[in-house]
């Protein structure tokens, strides 16, 4: 397009201003890319089939617990291969800033279900046979420089020992890795049996969630229904969902994240609209006599208006592409950061497309008033101002 040179000339006229405007657009679209990618997790359609793991939690709240006795009954359901369970231990290792998730689990069943956690047979054996045993992800090991055989002190905040003190000690007996999902290496697992026996008596005999491994992943909907039906009229009713759906639910307990994110984005884009709109109007005002020259030499009113709109469009598209590009680059690191609590995230095509859509809308909304002004500009008036 031969008019390209005119657009470039307009943008290059005040390089600093163009640069700053593009920078604020880049930041806005970076925020957009990151927040939308996280938000996708909360809005994804829940698909009960295709996931060979189910999570059974208390029907009314994810912090309520269920009797450990449910385990035997769940195991008896047709299509269930293994049943494990996990609890949220909370607790602090030396400093609150060192936070990482700690889960009491039944060692054998848990590791049998989570085949993706790579652990040597020797370490697995040690975890199963050591009452006070703990295994830690490679990241934790690296982070705190732990060695096998170390005694790891954890200050309990949810769970106290039966004597009323809260200094728990665990023996580090193994490490595991998860190559597919390195974010999972940022947690530790404790032996449930010891945890249950050592905690205060009135708390014993319950678990936070059951994890059910299916023989056939297509059985998910049926098995989930049977489990929930089995405990339907008991004291502790259950709610069974796929692991993915559970993660979604877990995360949305933090508040209506989707809403908060959208509110932030709306504020960001409102600001961006003002910034871009201001840049465009200022730039057009400064170039009044240039625009008059274009009209003088035969550019029609519509052409001049189109040129201004394209200028605005170029500005916004560059900002959006750079912002989304940086998002794409940051995504693997971000995904790793949130993968423990939220699961994997990625920059989806739908996010990119809606980002570009917003860029185009921003360009038109902010470019339209100056473009209209440029279209209506009368050469004789514009040149008189000199």
């Amino acid at each position: 397009m031969k008019y390209w040179i005119i657009i470039l000339a307009a943008l290059k006229r005040k390089k600093w201003r163009t640069g700053l405007t593009i920078s604020s657009l880049v930041i806005a679209f970076l925020l957009f890319g990151l927040l939308r990618s996280v938000a996708v997790i909360f809005t994804e359609d829940v698909d009960l089939s295709g996931d060979d793991r189910l999570i059974v939690s208390s029907k009314y709240s994810i912090i309520d617990s269920m009797p450990i006795a449910y385990l035997q009954r769940i195991r008896g359901i047709d299509g269930v291969e293994i049943v494990a369970h996990q609890d949220w231990f909370g607790g602090t290792y030396i400093d609150r800033a060192n936070f990482f998730p700690k889960w009491p689990v039944p060692p054998k069943e848990f590791l049998d279900i989570y085949q993706e956690f790579k652990i040597s047979d020797q370490h697995k054996e040690a975890f199963i046979s050591t009452r006070t045993g703990m295994i830690a992800g490679q990241k934790i090991i690296d982070r705190f420089n732990w060695k096998i055989g170390d005694r790891i002190p954890i200050i309990g905040d949810i769970y106290f020992l039966d004597d009323g003190t809260n200094l728990w000690e665990f023996d580090l007996v193994g490490t595991f890795t998860d190559i597919e999902n390195p974010g999972n290496e940022d947690q530790v697992f404790l032996n449930y049996q010891y945890f249950d026996e050592a905690r205060e008596e009135e708390w014993r005999g319950v678990v936070g969630n059951f994890i059910v491994k299916l023989t056939d992943k297509n059985d998910g909907p049926r098995v989930a229904k049977e489990i929930d039906a089995m405990f339907a009229n008991s004291m502790d009713e259950t709610k069974t969902s796929t692991e993915k759906a559970y993660q979604q639910m877990f995360a949305s307990q933090i508040g209506d994240i989707g809403f908060i994110m959208n509110a932030i984005l709306a504020a960001v884009f409102f600001t961006i609209l003002l910034v871009t709109g201001n840049t465009m109007s200022q730039s057009i005002r400064e170039r009044t006599s240039e625009l008059a020259v274009f009209k003088t030499i035969g550019f029609s009113d519509m052409t001049v208006m189109t040129l201004v709109l394209i200028e605005s469009l170029v500005l916004c598209i560059i900002g959006a592409l750079l912002g989304l590009g940086i998002t794409a680059i940051m995504m693997p690191a971000l995904s790793e950061m949130v993968s423990v609590s939220l699961g994997e995230i990625s920059l989806e095509i739908s996010v990119i497309l809606s980002g570009l859509g917003i860029a185009i809308i921003t360009a038109f909304v902010s470019g339209f008033p100056p473009a209209l002004g440029a279209m209506r500009l009368k050469v004789v008036d514009a040149l008189k101002k000199d």
């Binding site: 006599s289 240039e290 550019f299 029609s300 040149l383």
Partner: protein
């Protein structure tokens, strides 16, 4: 004299402000033959620029007609006027109004972007125009790297590049010192004599008027010989 290029008949231009009507041009008649070089003088506010803009198709009259080469430009709409200006008239103003980030060459090329010429053809036309104004060696310079006189030459080349029949100049030497003004006037003279351009020039400078073939005076919206 030869063929008539510009034919202005009973031309009036008025502005209404509040209840008052300001008559800027009053039932004015003017014929400019081909290859004429006409200087238009007169006191400030007498309507010189207004007349020039009407003849150049930048403005439309309140009444009367303006024909250029037999075409009634006063009856054209804004889009038709734009098209007409692109190929029939070249404008030269007191302030050069060049795009500061573009080189002389790119500034001159702008009017040609509206044509169907190829990049190579446009380049050739630009070179020709640069040669005519004597700036072939400055084609890569930006306006800030040129003197006022050189910038005006670039503006003249831009007006010439689409090869229009008529050049309209509104105080083309108004912002230049005497020597530079003389150079520009000589250039305009040669455009008229050697290249057959018809020129209509508004000026306050008697020396500039002197260099034209003839001059007319405008006073209170009427022409006086």
């Amino acid at each position: 004299m030869s063929e008539i290029l510009v034919d202005v008949k009973n031309l009036s231009k008025e502005y209404k402000r509040g209840g008052e009507t300001l008559v800027v041009l009053d039932d004015l008649n003017l014929e400019i033959p081909k290859e004429d070089y006409l200087a238009l003088m007169g006191p400030s506010g007498s309507g010189k620029s207004t007349l020039l803009n009407l003849i150049g198709g930048l403005d439309t009259p309140s009444s009367g007609s303006v024909s250029i080469n037999g075409e009634r430009i006063d009856q054209m709409n804004s889009k038709q006027l734009s098209n007409w200006r692109a190929s029939n008239v070249g404008f030269i103003f007191q302030f050069y109004n060049l795009l500061p980030v573009l080189t002389a060459q790119k500034n001159i090329e702008l009017p040609l972007l509206l044509t169907n010429l190829s990049g190579a053809q446009r380049k050739k036309h630009v070179e020709t125009a640069l040669n005519i104004v004597g700036l072939a060696d400055r084609s890569g310079h930006k306006p800030s790297e040129l003197s006022g006189g050189q910038q005006q030459r670039v503006a003249i080349a831009r007006a010439l590049v689409s090869d229009p029949d008529i050049l309209v100049c509104d105080e083309p030497t108004g912002d230049l010192d005497r020597d530079t003004a003389t150079d520009i006037l000589n250039l305009l003279k040669s455009l008229n004599e050697d290249h057959g351009k018809t020129i209509l020039m508004v000026t306050h400078d008697p020396a500039a008027a002197e260099s034209a073939k003839r001059s007319l005076h405008l006073d209170k919206g009427k022409l006086i010989i």
